[in-house]
């Protein structure tokens, strides 16, 4: 009894605990907004606890589907010929592994073809291992992190186009915010006319018609057409130039008669995203390779000023 009594003496009333934790949360939010604080040691710990398990679940998932495939095939064969059961079993298993290998091969071939398309950048391939637990945002986690050379603000591509950008890195994982995320915007460019525009992710439009927003398109010559390719533009300090985002789906003049807006269809199939490539060159790094450090700083400052201009225009 004494033991219990002593314990209850030291415990705080829950409203004070709530107050303390609220202050803690608000402080964390404030710090992450102002100082760009992102987890730090928390990221490391969480990364080492959760990432292996997430990878495990994924491998179990593929294992189960593989087994299910095997069983299905086995049943068919049993109906056809019961006497050749043993032989057929062996063969089906072999077949399924080969099929799996072929599937991998096709995937790698696709990745290789992509490699040739953007030859100048160093890249690392990564698997998607978890998606945002809520339904509001389109962020996901990949299984490569700072140990593989990934840093914040690197671009992520897949298939034939831009997937998103790295927003946070742990030792063995990285967070990616995709282009279709509601909070994401990219400065884009029409490949035919070189007109600039802003591409903004939109949850509502994405859910309804699989499309994202295009706005602030300055097209005085009226040449932008439906079906034009939209790539990332040169006015960005984070996105590398010339990565395909999507195709123009609809376009109309704004009420101010100066700019146009519309929608584009992204090229990447975000619903079935499994493998992605992370470009290991930051835009800033590329600039610093070609010029001295002092000029880079000025370049960066001009870039950031242009990006703020874009924001204010938006």
């Amino acid at each position: 009894m004494r033991r219990i009594k002593r314990k209850s003496k030291f415990s705080l009333p829950s409203k004070y605990v709530l107050l303390v934790m609220t202050i803690l949360c608000v402080a964390a939010m404030f710090l992450s907004l102002t100082k760009n604080l992102s987890g730090g040691p928390l990221n490391t710990v969480a990364g080492y606890i959760f990432i292996p398990m997430q990878e495990g679940i994924n491998s179990v998932g593929t294992w189960i589907s593989q087994k299910a495939d095997n069983l299905k095939k086995l049943n068919d064969v049993m109906k056809e010929n019961a006497s050749l059961q043993g032989k057929v079993d062996e063969l089906t298993q072999e077949l399924s592994t080969i099929k799996l290998e072929q599937y991998d091969l096709e995937n790698y071939r696709q990745l290789l073809a992509l490699n040739q398309k953007y030859p100048s950048y160093k890249k690392v391939a990564a698997n998607v291992i978890g998606k945002n637990s809520g339904n509001w945002f389109d962020t996901f986690v990949i299984d490569k992190g700072s140990k593989d050379g990934i840093k914040k603000d690197m671009n992520v591509i897949a298939g034939s186009g831009l997937v998103g950008i790295i927003t946070d890195v742990g030792p063995n994982y990285a967070k990616v915010r995709s282009v279709i995320d509601d909070t994401n915007s990219v400065s884009g460019m029409d490949l035919n006319t070189s007109d600039n525009c802003i591409i903004t992710g939109n949850l509502e439009k994405m859910n309804e018609n699989q499309e994202i927003e295009l706005s602030d398109l300055k097209d005085s010559a009226n040449k932008v057409q439906v079906g034009d390719q939209i790539v990332t533009s040169y006015i960005s300090d984070k996105y590398l130039q010339g990565i395909l985002i999507g195709y123009v789906k609809s376009i109309k003049s704004d009420s101010n008669n100066i700019t146009k807006s519309g929608t584009i269809t992204p090229v990447v199939d975000f619903e079935h995203l499994q493998e992605v490539l992370v470009i290991l060159n930051n835009k800033q790094n590329i600039n610093s390779d070609s010029s001295s450090s002092s000029s880079t700083q000025t370049q960066q400052s001009t870039q950031s000023s242009t990006s703020t201009e874009v924001k204010s225009a938006n």
Binding site: A27, L42, A46, F50, G130, V141
Partner: protein, 172 residues
């Protein structure tokens, strides 16, 4: 200690399932929210303080892996767990109505708060759309999952309480 480890395992398992399996099983891009079920259930089963801490850690997990601002989901989930703790006095394990109502209200509140803070301030005014196409489907899906998950949690909690009672009786 036993309780803490058990709850940690429950949270980890549900978080992992939610981000992998249930994303694969999503209907029209909507997947259920298992963490809110845990937070809410332990809130009204065990009281304010435990709800508060479980909410905090569930939210923190989401912040670390999928959030933009560290502490945002932790704050929301923490308050949801705490508020559910007020209903401990009228909670009876045999009755299913109160848990269902509390879990659905928690899920909707959580989504409304996310909409309010992260969408409304970015000029996304179409609340009706988000309510009908996002919050309600998630709520329905979550309730379907809750029917199973709630009884699992209830059984685990009852077992834990039995073990705890036995061990305190031993000390006295």
């Amino acid at each position: 200690m036993r309780r803490k480890i058990t709850i940690a395992i429950i949270i980890i398992v549900c978080f992992l399932l939610q981000t992998t399996l249930f994303k694969a099983l999503s209907f029209a891009t909507i997947s259920p929210n298992l963490l809110i079920v845990i937070v809410s259930a332990f809130g009204f089963m065990r009281g304010k303080k435990e709800g508060l801490f479980i909410g905090f850690f569930c939210g923190l997990l989401m912040d670390i892996f999928y959030g933009d601002i560290l502490g945002f989901y932790a704050l929301i989930y923490m308050y949801i767990g705490y508020c559910n703790g007020f209903f401990r006095k009228i909670f009876f394990p045999e009755e299913i109505k109160l848990p269902m109502i509390l879990i659905s209200v928690s899920d909707l509140t959580c989504n409304v708060l996310v909409y309010f803070f992260l969408f409304l301030f970015r000029r996304r005014f179409d609340f009706g759309y988000y309510f009908l196409k996002l919050m309600v489907p998630e709520f329905v899906y979550t309730i379907l999952i809750t029917i199973v998950l709630y009884f699992v949690l209830l059984k685990i909690n009852q077992k834990l309480e039995k073990v705890e009672k036995r061990s305190t009786a031993k000390f006295v």
